[in-house]
Symmetry: D2
């Protein structure tokens, strides 16, 4: 399935529909190729676009009103996807904050829910055949609804190049805004956590990314000459307040985005390894997320036990890989999540930071649940909290196997 | 051993001797308490102090000329310790570049070598009983010379507080420079990789570190308004050139330190977990190392295969923990090193960076050994390099177990 | 604390008391050395000894009736310690089923509970200074009651050798049974999960363990010539029934012990690495546990998803190490437990086994929650459940990075 | 590639050819479908079949003599594949000794070598589209020769069921031995390490495997009533002698197979997770390997340091997964191999075992490189080798973080 005559068998399909040119073409292509009823799903994940036009466009494309679904998912996105991920200080390949990866499972989940509601037998996404997003969408679809049919137009249709696509659009009265007429100089994805840019002018990793690529942050060089000081409050590992004011998850992230943007924070230019096997170069902007990561590490630094912290750190790369590769709705991700969440029960308190021209500088952390003890650590008299004599035995038993080894090697090697 | 009357049995001890007040007191204490011959070992690890005075002070303290050892270890330090560690992109607890940790095994190794040369039966270090350094020194001593005797004065002597220590110094004609008379506001360790500050004014992690703590970097706020552009060349995972000029390991790191310092790069203020069980707050400055880490990640990003990179990333926290805890001379560290080194054979090429007010910005990477293929990744016609149809099978077989799982759960849960 | 005059400060101590010779000596030693009130705690963990005599002996030693605590912990032991551990298929160093390790945290927990109840300020155990058990007891004590005082007589007293100990016993009218007069040929620990033997005749790992060491199993050579067939039922990863009959955790394990014993199952002779740094040789008998491990693996084999199973398998050695080293009451163990337990929700069904002369042979597994699909796997017509064409894309994308790598290496190496 | 008209482009193909019915059909199908020159490669991996007939059959099928390659790979197989794998005590999913998986990369490597020698542009294997072997072959092909064309007949041809295949055979004068006429009751793979059986009568995992499935071992019930005692010698982690007699790798494994077979050792009936996504049930017989695994663990138990052993144990499941999934020729496998091999440098000595009715019982281990010290471990006077006082400090510092945690939790939770 979807190959050969299987195409004919789709009755109703739920399309992830942004209202933009590409998904408008897909919508029309579904109607003309599959001849099936199309249900559109448009989500607000904080990408910064109006959703109203999507409804109008869908209606104009002949979608029945009851088949148009538009949802504001911002709070759910941050609460159930972004926040759980940040509890693990998650970065892919040491750097990438997974802004695109973490949004895909939520969109897929909603498509499946709508498919069930409207009795659709198929879902459709607009991701290309070379990227990770197709995998993330489809693994999620299959995990949630094993018998769903999946339509991946970019892998199926026979358009050769952009020109044929645009011709199809014109032939079907799809509006093409002026800036889409030519070749876009790069490709963009955005949501409340980040925006990413890939392709075209970015394809040579030896060349610096041009300034026009950046959309969500100003350059550190253009940022204010004075630092901005903020305080982030945490509860159970999640950020819950900014400068003492409690906020909903999405509100807080949006505010951090504003702060990050204004201070040139969160730009990242890297070459990463895709799950489908090739390297790609991307430019990411994650202003709020970059602040959040530093702040979360800082609050953990005083509230998380070493054993807990090190175990999390060791498992994080695996967890990041699962999210990057699209395995969100899997037993192994849920197992790791259970482990991570268990560690966060007492991760609470406040972190003070300075934001300055691309820098996120931790200047203070405090917590009622702090494990830091100045009494223990002090060079001054600690009143017996720590007996330095203990260190000798500690070292000697840690060394015992190494001494045995040293003796053995000496004996054998002379 | 060293307890009770065992003290009397030491004949000759090799002391890690900086020539500063503390190790001068230790030297005298060894002579008066153990009544043994003292051999001093003073190393230049790039801490930025003259070694000449150490010789004079040792002579004045009655050390025989043949018992005074002074060595410039800077190249060995970077080549055999710092560089191998950076091959793994090593950071402890997500952030700390291990500047102090990585120097200890080398000092210990040299002390043992000298002990063998001069026939000493003991070694002595000046680390306190609360910190990690005692562990790092002593595990290294024991691993390299299982039957060595270890003297750890800070755990043994009975001075109560700083005042008694200073009195002992005065009683024994040890020069006390003016700034040591009072309580130092914090404690410092330095070498070519970093300097660290701990204690006193830093003991409250809720309070920002005062500016005087920073010694090796200027503030990002004081750094130039224009970025500095540099190029670092790599070979087998190690930095080998700067702006096209080949340099020895220590020279290169020193140059990166200058560049980092001037651009406000490499400051870190954190709370970490010590091996001996408590949390401590430290301020680290690693200007060159911070640049190096970014550059190394960048050159790996185009030359290292995903399988290799992810395996390294997953094992890095463990490797960092070994170094932090002092287990450098152990089979497990050597096993991980073998794995890491194996991965670096083709990690070569050049990375371009902008240094700007605390930011290290990668702007380009290129390599004859690059695995990046713009042909594979392009949105344009790739001439068959990648068949998008392959993605369907790839996804479907990755999804198969998830679909089976979904069906099972559906069947059972209704 | 417990050194020097600290000894005088103990008011009331809860002693883990078996009623045997060693803990009777400790009881008396506590009374004479610390002059404190002693509370005895005697637990039935299935070690196979009567508890009645312990009460009488305690009374005879002058313990007040209200200070004598005797508890049957068998069900709690299996339900809250053994079963959670078996959910992970836990073995230490590839083989050891951790029978001793897993009992210590429970005993420690009960001692602390009693200490709170009776207002004791100290606890005491009878483990020696060379073994792992002292660590397991004391880490558990400290984790549960950070300010508790710990008395470890074997590390404190000054008896030199067995003869002095026996003299102390005789001097204090402690009954010494005949078999204790001489040197026992080995040392034994036992509970419902296993018995272990160490020391003396077992100290040379080159020599076969003599038959008298084995106490809980007959030799495979003496076992019946016909196999015994059994069926074990599982629910949420725990064994809940035997041959169709539902049983409590401890009852079931006891029955499996009988079956294992009769069929020569569960003997293990190995050299292991102790946490305190040396290697030791032990002989373990875990008849029921050995059967349980095989059965649990078998039920998992059809009900656990690959992703879940492989993640568990990779983390198991770490989990085993935590238990072996005594870190049961730690955040990291609880985090791993959360992960493991999450995986077991659907691990249910029945496993059939043949027990025969030391062999545990799985002959069948079935489950309503089975993920095994003969339709998928069959060589016959699978009616479209699996499209063999998918494999090509699956392989090609898995191979993509390897091909890129091969091309790079070819280009560079000629 | 191999799709559509690509088929026509193959000029010369190297076929992994056993001379059996299936690969004879493939040979003919290649000739008739691709019209290309066929080169046959037949390897002796210890599967226990004569290779002579393969040559005759190939000649009869019209293969030119210079295109017939027959090689005895037994020594290379054990030396370069089996032994390196056993150094890690490798088992997949806790039990499977990977007998099939480890042979595939070697066959693939030889096919590629021959392809280069004869100038072939394609290779071909006889693995089905549902199994792991296709992946193992093809990943190896691609890794070693990125531009090779791969023909996988079972995924390509259009035969519907066994009857059509046999008709094709008859139509092309391929001899069909009597036992191949009907449906074989299960499918078999064999080499010097193991034989495996799958499918048909084994497809229901609830049913016991019938006796006829077992080919390489007698039943434990039929094995001798007296144990056989043997001694295996190791050097650098590899078995090098049996009962004191030095032997080549393949000879030694063959001898262990005989011993295992005669004593009913090495049978395994399990359900495993295939890389392609489904569960399958297999019966494996690995008589020599099962003995070897126990013996290797035993020699490691006295010669391998704890740090080394635990690190290996934790990484083993990942290493096993790589081999099972076919990623032998990958950087990550080679990195792990470097780590494993590093650990084996001093793994040498002798292990004594009793083989008895399915049991492999270790009865002794000794080594000049032993790390076991009876002086350290003894309950008797150890003459100061171990100071029991050290344990207190060791425990107290290990407990420090747990006590801090306990205090924090107490303070917060009342």
């Amino acid at each position: 399935m979807p190959n050969g005559d299987a195409k004919k068998s789709v009755k109703k399909v739920v399309l992830a529909y942004s209202g933009g040119l590409d998904t408008s073409i897909i919508l029309k292509w579904l109607q003309t190729t599959y001849g099936c009823e199309v249900v559109t799903f448009t989500a607000d994940l904080g990408q910064g676009e109006e959703l109203g036009p999507a409804r109008e466009k869908a209606l104009r494309a002949g979608i029945k009103p009851e088949n148009i679904f538009i949802e504001d998912l911002r709070e759910e996105f941050v609460r159930d996807f972004v926040n759980p991920m940040f509890r693990a200080n998650t970065v892919y390949e040491g750097q990438y904050l997974l802004g695109t990866s973490i949004a895909r499972p939520l969109i897929a989940k909603k498509q499946i829910e709508i498919a069930r509601k409207v009795g659709a037998d198929a879902v459709c996404h607009g991701a290309t055949g070379k990227g990770n997003d197709q995998v993330r969408f489809e693994l999620s679809y299959y995990a949630l609804e094993p018998s769903i049919k999946i339509i991946a137009p970019w892998r199926e249709w026979t358009f050769k190049g952009r020109e044929e696509l645009l011709k199809f659009a014109r032939d079907h009265q799809i509006t093409i805004t002026k800036d889409k007429e030519g070749e876009a100089p790069f490709s963009v994805d955005a949501n409340l956590l980040h925006s990413s840019s890939e392709g075209k002018v970015l394809e040579d990793p030896a060349k610096e990314a041009p300034g026009i690529v950046y959309q969500r942050t100003i350059s550190p060089m253009d940022a204010p000459d004075q630092p901005t000081e903020i305080t982030i409050g945490f509860k159970k590992g999640d950020a819950v307040s900014l400068n003492g004011e409690a906020m909903s998850p999405a509100t807080l992230l949006a505010r951090l985005n504003d702060l990050g943007k204004a201070n040139g924070i969160g730009r990242l230019d890297l070459v990463e390894n895709r799950f489908v096997g090739m390297k790609s170069r991307g430019v990411y902007e994650t202003p709020g997320g970059t602040i959040l990561l530093q702040a979360h590490r800082a609050i953990e630094s005083i509230t998380l036990d070493r054993g807990a912290g090190h175990l999390k750190d060791e498992l994080m790369p695996r967890y990041a890989e699962m999210i990057y590769n699209g395995f969100w709705f899997t037993p192994e991700r849920e197992m790791l999540q259970a482990l991570i969440d268990k560690s966060q029960e007492m991760v609470e308190g406040e972190v003070r930071l300075k934001l300055y021209k691309g820098n996120v500088i931790v200047t203070g952390r405090e917590s009622p649940a702090s494990l830091y003890s100045s009494t223990l650590v002090t060079f001054e008299d600690d009143k017996g909290a720590y007996d330095q004599k203990d260190a000798e035995g500690f070292i000697r038993l840690n060394a015992l196997r190494l001494r045995t080894l040293g003796q053995r090697n000496k004996k054998l090697n002379g």
